[in-house]
């Protein structure tokens, strides 16, 4: 690259001299006028320019449309004394003097498609063109990129500022969230799906539901935010309804209530067994119709009744683990209760009966 300035007259005489010497140009003796050096400079540099790029003479034109290679003269190394202003342009590449159309054409050569160049936009385009001219001829210039601002700041030190406003467009969190709620969704889906699809194996399902339900309790709020579509897709993946024979694809299966949550007593299966045992005991002891027993019976029967009620409705969806289906147990219970009541009725009414009228009807002791 030949080192030269577009406007050597901006340089000091000394600099011109040194530049000329650097290029092995014979300086005239004595102290000449600056213009002499300027001319020498230009002449030599023009020559160099010709050598390097083969471009035509810089001076050749005051035309409005200088040939493109002319612009090659614009490469600069010594930026110190140059252009704070755009006005001083000895060459034809005086952007301010170009017509709107010429300006547009030049910018087009740089690959910049401009909008209308009107009064208000002209200045901006002039600046843009100037910047582009600084970069060199249009052939060597890539599509206009961020360059130094044309207010005279020689090198773009504010480039980073130009890029700064793109930050708000980052929507990074959205895809990140999708994998996160998915395990949660899966865990939540499992108990939800357990209800319709419960023909599966016992222990894995129940254990899954347990953990899932716990998760559900804890993470309901988080789950609510997850997109429903994700839920459904995961749902379909995890629980395809291939095993079901019912027309709706839904089979009534057990959903265990969450032990220890929502105020429910923390019980296990053993409690249910105990209740069953108790029922058997009651049946056995029902024949001995003592007052205390009968008194205690309703209480005891009430307790298992009420206690088994929360267990019963969810337990209606049969779990094959039970020896008897729950409804059978309930039936037995009611039968036993009815039997006991009948016995009570049949007893001697020494004391005030519970139901005076019915006691009078049924009592056969008299």
């Amino acid at each position: 690259m030949s080192e030269f300035l577009e406007d050597p007259s901006l340089l000091t005489k000394d600099k011109l001299k040194s530049a000329l010497l650097a290029h092995n140009v014979a300086l005239p003796n004595g102290d000449q006028k600056k213009d002499v050096y300027v001319q020498l400079y230009l002449k030599n540099l023009t020559a160099q320019n010709k050598k390097s790029s083969g471009s035509p003479d810089v001076f050749s034109s005051d035309e409005e449309l200088p040939p493109a290679p002319v612009v090659s003269n614009r490469s600069r190394s010594g930026r110190k004394a140059t252009r704070k202003t755009d006005k001083v342009r000895p060459e034809d590449v005086d952007v301010t003097e170009l017509s709107n159309e010429a300006l547009k054409d030049l910018l087009l050569k740089y690959g910049l498609i401009t909008g209308p160049i009107v009064a208000s936009t002209r200045k901006v385009y002039e600046k843009r063109l100037q910047k582009l001219l600084d970069q060199g001829p249009p052939e060597t210039v890539a599509p206009p990129s961020e360059m130094s601002q044309t207010d005279g700041s020689q090198n773009g030190n504010t480039d980073s500022d130009h890029y700064s406003d793109k930050e708000e467009e980052t929507v990074a969190p959205a895809p990140v969230f999708v994998p996160e709620p998915e395990p949660e969704v899966e865990a939540e889906l499992i108990p939800v799906v357990e209800r319709p699809i419960r023909s599966r194996g016992k222990t894995p399902v129940t254990s899954r539901t347990r953990s899932g339900q716990h998760n559900r309790v804890e993470k309901v709020s988080a789950i609510d935010q997850t997109p429903r579509t994700v839920e459904r897709d995961v749902l379909k993946e995890i629980f395809p309804n291939e095993n079901l024979s019912t027309p709706t694809g839904i089979s009534a299966t057990c959903r265990r209530p969450i032990r220890g949550a929502a105020g429910r007593p923390v019980v296990s299966d053993t409690w249910l067994d105990e209740s069953r045992l108790r029922l058997k005991e009651l049946r056995e002891t029902s024949s001995s119709s003592t007052y205390t027993e009968t008194r205690s019976v309703p209480r005891v029967t009430a307790v298992p009744l009420t206690a088994s009620k929360p267990a019963a409705p969810p337990a209606v969806k049969t779990r094959a683990r039970r020896s008897l289906p729950v409804w059978v147990q309930l039936l037995l219970l009611s039968a036993v209760a009815g039997f006991l009541f009948f016995v009570y009725q049949a007893m001697e009414t020494n004391e005030v009966g519970l139901f005076k009228q019915s006691g009078a009807d049924d009592s056969t002791s008299k």
Partner: protein, 90 residues
């Protein structure tokens, strides 16, 4: 949530109508006054300039800087405000 100011949100929420140029994000009193002196007294005039520059960011920023001396942040705010407004209403 994007890091836009309340002014930005207010501007892009509705058609600008006859709002002054100071309603633009990034344009305060000082800059607004300068713009008005140059003849850009309403927000829609600045919008016009924005559109004539084909909504090009660099050109608009440069223009803004030349016209009222906005700094980089102000340029960016104004540009994104107008761009978003155009996305919604234009």
């Amino acid at each position: 949530m994007s890091s836009t100011s309340q002014k930005h949100k207010d501007f892009v929420a509705e058609p600008m109508g006859e709002k002054t140029v100071m309603a633009l994000a990034g344009i305060g009193e000082v800059l607004g006054k300068r713009l008005e002196e140059k003849g850009f007294d309403k927000a829609y005039v600045v919008l016009g300039q924005f559109l004539v520059l084909k909504k090009d960011e660099e050109l608009f920023r440069e223009w803004l800087k030349d016209t009222c001396g906005a700094n980089t942040k102000q340029q960016g705010d104004c540009y994104s405000c107008l761009r978003e407004w155009c996305d919604s209403f234009l």
